[in-house]
Symmetry: C2
Amino acid sequence: MDRINVCIIGSGNWATTIARNVGRNVANSQHMEPIVYMYVYEEIVDGRKLTEIINTTHINVKYMPDFVLPTNIVAVDDVVKTARDADILIFAIPPTFVNSCCKTLLGKVKPTAHAVSLIKGFERGDDGQIVLISQIIMRQLKIPCSVLVGCNLAHEIANDNFVEGTIGCRDQKYFRLLQDIFKSATFRVVVTDDADCVEICSTLRNVIAFGAGCADGMELNENTKAGIIRRGFLETLQFVDVFYPGCRMATFFEACGISDLVTSCYANRNRKLAEAFVKTGQPLSELEHILIPGHEPLGPVTAELVHIMLEKKGLADKFPLFTVIYKICVGDQPLTRLVETLRFAREDM
Amino acid sequence: MDRINVCIIGSGNWATTIARNVGRNVANSQHMEPIVYMYVYEEIVDGRKLTEIINTTHINVKYMPDFVLPTNIVAVDDVVKTARDADILIFAIPPTFVNSCCKTLLGKVKPTAHAVSLIKGFERGDDGQIVLISQIIMRQLKIPCSVLVGCNLAHEIANDNFVEGTIGCRDQKYFRLLQDIFKSATFRVVVTDDADCVEICSTLRNVIAFGAGCADGMELNENTKAGIIRRGFLETLQFVDVFYPGCRMATFFEACGISDLVTSCYANRNRKLAEAFVKTGQPLSELEHILIPGHEPLGPVTAELVHIMLEKKGLADKFPLFTVIYKICVGDQPLTRLVETLRFAREDM
């Protein structure tokens, strides 16, 4: 049987972090091809091509200068060359590049290939709905697509701190393989087939983290923040029940659920952005370039799409926290409404 | 119909905090007796009786000097006089005094009275099991006993920050009344009849907070702490399922569940104690007197009783987080086992 060929599409901070695990894991497996191609969007850094730098120094000087990559990670500047022989395609590019990347790859990947999206975020559907990245990849490339989430602090994985992640994969025969590709001694990976739930949980938590950041910006207390986390968790359960019926409660207790939510509300970019938004009074559009350059702040845009989806079903009133966070983002409600919402939200949902 | 008479047994920080809400609420109700007796263990403070100071200055100078009590809170140095005419007995005394207090009150309270325990902690049963405080009060006084939990930072309530609490009450006809007695504009109170679950959740979170504090002491990362919270939440569900069968999942999503757990893991005395235990290497018995004078550190003792209960059923292996926290407390396992446990804990429970 042929060895399984794994490639990585993307070379940012998160792609490079996971490449360290993937490189080590394939090197230690008799079932996997020992070389992993990594697609790098070519840039010139200090007069040299980034791919050349990575392939000679094994350091991604642009996006992760403090960590060395395994030597079996090979940077390639052509996405088709990267992916054409791969059995497992790991996508770790910004969400805005997914469509064009898939167009380039269409018909050029193995029909038996399996994709794994590590992409945070989603696409905006024509009807203003959230379209999951895994759905776009599946639809465009006509191959199955799993997701890996639950590990939103790349530097903590890179530093070999203990981190938990969740893989959502609809096909049980890939469970062990995907775990073997991503895991490490300090990166615990659990696989579940409840894939949509894994991905949407990971998306909604950015809205809640934005709310938690607003509370921090107002210097509210621990109990208020816990109230936001609790209410956000309840509205996540409820949102999933309406828009992704059939998800399982147990999935919310995986890393993609409760852990991701807690870490996001204490240490996430959306939290930080919201805190600054409240403290400085500056518009979000200005702050995001200063505070999180190169990253789209997913909280506000997710809040907007969630709101559109809820409005279409006439359900905004049933999701008071998601609704008030959206309205605070766009300036339709004062910040004081956040705590008011917690006070008056109905318990029975 | 007679007005409902409410009394408070206890005058510590927590009793005094809640007395401010209770005093205001009864004063504004046509159904409640406007005077609330508060039992104060008599002490001499600066040459004057504490009850006299409270009744003249309306300040509990000993336990809450920065806040003024409503004038309808009347300090009484006799627990029988405090309680004998009361329809609602609010208990807010240290857990070690519950038995003797109930002995004094036996036969002296109205047979139709209803107790509410605000007591954090539990009693150690003869067989080494946790005995819930509400069970002791019910058994000894032969009246029903509800519980109010989920608000472990008294100063946040006192400062009128937003806080959520949960009341566990088996009798639906008391739901509205209890809510009306305790709530305020900033203290949201939800009542559920799943009373044992409310009380045991609030107890177990001290074990998890101790684990979170160990992680802080080792300067581990956000993801590790989230892993402890997640695993702790799962083991709480599982513990309740074994020892208090029939509890409802929804209760874990009330303030007594997820909120109390998160606040405890970020801002609780057990967390702080554990952090110092790790950083200084000093014995717990020495640290607790320095760090949390006047308070029993519930984390270690709860961990011990939980461990005894699990061992008796041969289930310690199924609760690896609770077990390792106990073993770290007593020095049977090194701290490094905490992360090891998270790494290797089985997901299927």
